[in-house]
């Protein structure tokens, strides 16, 4: 702690802070541009000037940049000082000389940091009469809009993009008055985290291009805290609505999870909610086709099928909320409930959960991943599977080098000095995966091999750490020495981390990762073990229990069941098409609840339109084991309602007693917490619907929300009453509590004078730290104090390429591999075309070249695909884009002949 004087009053501030951070943390309104809490200080914009005094006798003082000056013990500064204030106003005036003042047509207007800072400094009238410099803008792809004339040269964009996110195709060009931020040539920004430029840019140079198609000002949006559904990490988001449709996704800060940043899939995948694939009406099969049916009739139909029916089974979903899954489980009974994961997926997720539960390694949060100082990634391409981890790992490789800059006494927030001292030195990061990954440029060493060989490397590392772990006797010399190098790096680290997951469809890979973690833990190290999860609620679905898909199929096959309720799940992605067809054809009644018109929905007899994430309330369990609540941003139109509500109606139709006592989300949560002890703590994920602040519900819309009295005037001139929300403490209105709701109920960040996302500073208990009141979410899995269990011992045999067959391995793509986001047009545009990849040697053997058609035969089905050459793929392996080409089915790796066409 340090004691500093600000305008003749003293304050206690944290040690190792700049004056700017200290002042913002104390709640002062001190303007800034180039500083960003995640990027540190560079002193480029001169906006945060304050007067600093030598001691109490110094009356003259001198101007300093508060972002570049440490808040050292006894520092005396003045923010109000007239010189400092006029200097700051002058800086804005200078920056505004070339700014087009086009706020009315600018997408940033109303949430623009430049607007806020201009007002804050008191610069009101433009005095220059010179012509403004203008630029030609670039098309930066389907996600980001570029409008360079608005630029104020703060350099945040290139600092974030290049230094923080590792991108190399955005840069600053030219000099002086002509400085231009963009690409060397027009084209799509290649970095997977480019979308954060929208929030990094303090004005409207980089804006959300998808929002542009259905633009709404921030003040006119109705918002709710949400959780991303496009991978298992559970990044916190803000979902925003106007006129009954989802308009955009913004990052919602969670100090333990996503911090300030999202990946582009998470930010731009939301458009599936608005898409053509949505089911909006209740559909029933009539004359062999699904046709709209009034909702009441559908309930009647359920009333004919469900009561007394002893042959109903329910298939849950790893992408549906705990509440929806639990409602289905209650409707059909636990023994007739199936988790909805593929057989292999269910097996691997159970294995991972077991490992995390047993310890000794603890699963770290994303913010803990960021400060790991030696990392092994085993069998995952994190950028494409759990993207936000990749951004965290780019910061983790700076941890060891920053220990060196600590010794030089360079404060960590002094960003440019730290980077100059570090240069290109990176801490240990080892990536073992079947193919090249997008993070390889940050890696100390990479290892590319078939899944079994990846596992063997992992087992060998564990053995090098602890001789009690099983050895891999016949390991090749190169892999052996790499294993020893990795073991040594992990062993000498303070916060080592192992990352693995199910992407290689290999239990051995997961077990090997667990062995490495156990080896480190046994040596007394505070090791983290992070697993990626296939879907947004995979871990939650697993904690809920329920058999795998084969068991469900068997129940119908053996005649124990004939009525199937499928919740938010496309079975064709989980099992081979033939098996799913057999199952759905054999069942007498198939009832699907979903928001998208999937092939599974197409086979159903009754399809009930469900609310997507922004239209529903519920809880998801992230891969960290963190239960997080998401809330409706709006009530969906037409027949759409939340899945668990459909299920309550089904219970009522079936004459179940629970239907009487369940009417709100809290009722379902209470029953769930009571019924499943592993999930008991989810009640703590967010306050209940009874929560009030100053006697009020929390407003979903900002104070300035406009047009409410007239927005439905085309239908009825009388303004309807805003809808009630019995399920949460949030109100569908701007009326209600606005200031500092509990973090898990914060629908948007706004503070007087701070309309942009920078208002976040006012919501944190310390800058870059937790939100006031604690970061949202509750961890469900903690390892026991004393470790038990032992090393896994089944080391696989080395991978042997077969003479005329190839092992088909899914290769993941951030855009295209995930089921929901690939329905979003902007994401679909960036998804790869189908391909089958082999290495050059195998291509020569097959006598094919890139682009030639090749045939894959799998379970009696022939697939034709164009060949792609991936020089880095191991011999004997063929890669295909997961999700883009469906060869998975079983989730198990399959061998196939490949024939040239």
């Amino acid at each position: 702690m340090a004691k500093i004087w600000v305008d003749d009053k003293w304050y206690e501030v944290g040690a190792d802070q700049s004056l700017l951070e200290a002042c913002l943390e104390l709640g002062f309104d001190l303007p800034y541009f180039c500083w960003h809490p995640a990027l540190g200080s560079v002193g480029a914009c001169r906006q945060c000037a304050v007067k600093q005094y030598r001691d109490e006798k110094d009356t003259r003082g001198r101007l300093v940049m508060s972002c570049m000056t440490p808040a050292s013990e006894g520092a005396r500064i003045s923010i109000k000082d007239a010189d400092a204030a006029s200097f700051r106003a002058g800086v804005v005036e200078g920056l505004m000389q070339n700014h087009p003042h086009d706020c009315p047509v600018c997408d940033e207007g109303g949430e623009c940091h430049l607007q806020d800072m201009t007002v804050m400094t008191g610069h009101n009238y433009r005095q220059t009469t010179y012509p403004k410099r203008t630029f030609r803008n670039q098309n930066l792809g389907p996600l980001i809009n570029h409008e360079m004339n608005r630029c104020i040269q703060c350099y945040r964009c290139v600092r974030y993009y290049r230094e923080y996110a590792g991108g190399r195709d955005l840069d600053a060009f030219a000099s002086r008055n002509q400085v231009f931020f963009g690409r060397h040539q027009e084209g799509t920004l290649q970095n997977e985290f480019a979308g954060n430029l929208v929030e990094i840019c303090p004005t409207g140079v980089f804006t959300d291009k998808t929002l542009k198609k259905h633009y709404t000002r921030k003040w006119d949006l109705q918002m709710a805290p949400s959780v991303c559904v496009h991978c298992g990490l559970g990044c916190n988001t803000t979902a925003a609505e106007r006129y009954g449709s989802l308009r955009r996704i913004l990052n919602r800060y969670n100090g333990h999870v996503n911090g300030y940043f999202l990946c582009d899939r998470g930010r731009f995948g939301y458009e599936f909610v608005r898409g053509e694939q949505r089911i909006k009406q209740t559909l029933a099969r009539q004359d062999g086709k699904l046709k709209p049916l009034p909702k009441a009739k559908a309930i009647e139909q359920l009333g004919r099928v469900l009561p007394g029916n002893q042959k109903v089974i329910g298939i849950g979903s790893p992408r549906a909320s705990l509440e929806a899954n639990f409602a289905l489980r209650t409707l059909v009974g636990p023994e007739r409930f199936f988790s909805g994961m593929s057989d292999q997926g269910s097996h691997l997720v159970s294995l991972m959960e077991e490992i995390l539960r047993q310890g000794p390694a603890r699963t770290p949060s994303l913010s803990e991943i960021e400060i790991s100082d030696a990392v092994l990634v085993l069998g995952e391409d994190v950028t494409n599977v759990a993207p936000r981890i990749a951004l965290a790992l780019r910061q983790s490789v700076r941890q060891q080098p920053m220990e060196f800059t600590d010794k030089l006494k360079i404060p960590r927030w002094l960003d440019h000095a730290v980077r100059e001292a570090i240069q290109d030195v990176k801490g240990p990061l080892f990536i073992a995966a079947p193919s090249a990954t997008r993070l390889d440029d940050a890696a100390t060493a990479t290892y590319r091999a078939a899944p079994d060989d990846l596992a063997r490397l992992g087992f060998a590392i564990a053995h090098a750490l602890d001789p009690q772990a099983p050895d891999v006797p016949d390991l090749a010399a190169g892999a052996r020495s790499l294993a020893e190098q990795i073991a040594a790096a992990l062993k000498s680290a303070k916060r080592p981390l192992v990352i693995s997951g199910p992407s290689s469809s290999s239990a051995a890979v997961i077990e090997a990762a667990a062995n490495v973690a156990r080896g480190l833990a046994k040596a007394g190290q505070a090791v983290g073990l992070a697993f990626t999860m296939p879907e947004a609620n995979s871990l939650g679905a697993n904690l809920m229990g329920g058999g795998d898909l084969s068991a469900a199929f068997k129940a119908v096959e053996e005649g124990r069941a004939d009525t199937v309720i499928i919740l938010e799940n496309d079975l064709y992605l989980k099992a081979p098409a033939a098996a799913v067809d057999r199952f759905l054809d054999a069942a007498r009644h198939v009832i699907a609840i979903d928001y998208l018109s999937t092939p599974t929905v197409a086979k159903s007899e009754l399809a009930l339109p469900a609310g997507a994430f922004a239209e529903s309330d519920g809880t998801l369990v992230s891969s960290e084991g963190r239960a997080q609540r998401f809330f409706q941003a709006y009530i969906p139109k037409d027949d759409i309602q939340q899945s668990w509500r459909w299920l309550i109606e089904m219970m009522r139709a079936a004459g179940r007693s629970e239907a009487e006592s369940w009417s709100t989300l809290d009722d379902v949560i209470a029953a769930l917490a009571q019924g499943i002890s592993a999930l008991a703590k989810i009640t703590e994920a967010a306050p209940s619907a009874k929560f009030r602040k100053l006697g009020e519900k929390i407003a979903r819309a900002p104070n300035r929300y406009s047009g409410r009295t007239s927005m439905l005037a085309n239908i009825n001139v009388s303004e309807p009453k805003p809808p009630d929300d019995p399920d949460s403490a949030l109100a569908f209105s701007m009326e209600g509590y606005q200031e500092h709701p509990p973090p898990s109920l914060t629908p948007f960040f706004w503070a007087p004078g701070w309309n942009s996302i920078q208002s976040l500073n006012k919501f944190q208990s310390e800058i870059k730290g937790p939100l006031r009141g604690g970061d949202p979410g509750v961890r469900l899995i903690e390892p026991p104090e004393t470790a038990n269990g032992s090393f896994f011992s089944s080391v696989p045999k080395p991978f042997a390429a077969r003479p005329e067959e190839w092992l088909l391995v899914p290769l993941y793509h951030i855009f295209g591999s995930e089921e929901l986001s690939r329905q979003a047009p902007a994401v679909a545009e960036l998804a790869p075309k189908p391909y089958l990849a082999v290495n050059s040697e195998d291509a020569a053997h097959l006598q094919v070249q890139a682009g030639d058609q090749i045939e894959v035969n799998l379970a009696g089905t022939a697939h034709r695909l164009p060949v792609a050459i991936h020089p880095d793929l191991p011999k004997g392996i063929a890669g295909f884009p997961a999700g883009v080409v469906s060869l998975e089915g079983t989730g198990l790796l399959a061998w196939s002949k490949l024939s040239r066409l």
Partner: protein, 154 residues
């Protein structure tokens, strides 16, 4: 494609530094020496050779006014517009050059003989006004002198 000669000269520069990206300016000067300017294609080749992205290299290229990213004439005239030359008659020099050559600053004559560019300070303030043609400095300029200088460059 970089010519063998260009490669050779760039490699000679690389030998002086621990990191080959450090020679990016010299590498572009090598290319410019041989070709007069640095095209997008040449920029891509140099970037690849030095392990940089084209964007990174272009960021450096566009910062420097003496790396030409557009074609220039056979001879480049750089006329000083700094304070001493300005006091001593830069305006007259510029006007004479533009009327004589029939081009404005930043342009190239239609026959490709001259490109006319402004520059800040040639370090010869005691002999202002001054200009540089290619690598030769010309001082104490007046209209007559300029005419005879231009005659030297075909």
């Amino acid at each position: 494609m970089l010519s063998p000669e260009e490669r050779h000269e760039i490699e000679a520069e690389i030998a002086h530094y621990p990191d080959k990206r450090a020679v990016c300016i010299d590498a572009m000067k090598v290319v410019q020496k041989h070709r007069g300017w640095v095209s997008d294609e040449a920029l891509g080749d140099v970037a690849e050779f030095l392990g940089m992205s084209v964007d990174e290299l272009d960021s450096v290229a566009t910062f420097y006014n003496l790396i030409f990213r557009k074609p220039v004439g056979r001879h480049v005239i750089m006329v000083c517009d700094s304070v001493s030359c300005w006091l001593m008659g830069y305006d007259r020099v510029r006007d004479h050059l533009t009327s004589r050559l029939g081009i404005q600053l930043g342009e190239t004559t239609p026959d490709g003989r001259f490109t006319l560019l402004p520059i800040v300070c040639l370090g010869t303030c005691d002999h202002a006004p001054a200009m540089m043609v290619d690598n030769e400095l010309h001082r104490d300029l007046d209209a007559e002198k300029i005419d005879s200088i231009l005659e030297q460059y075909k």
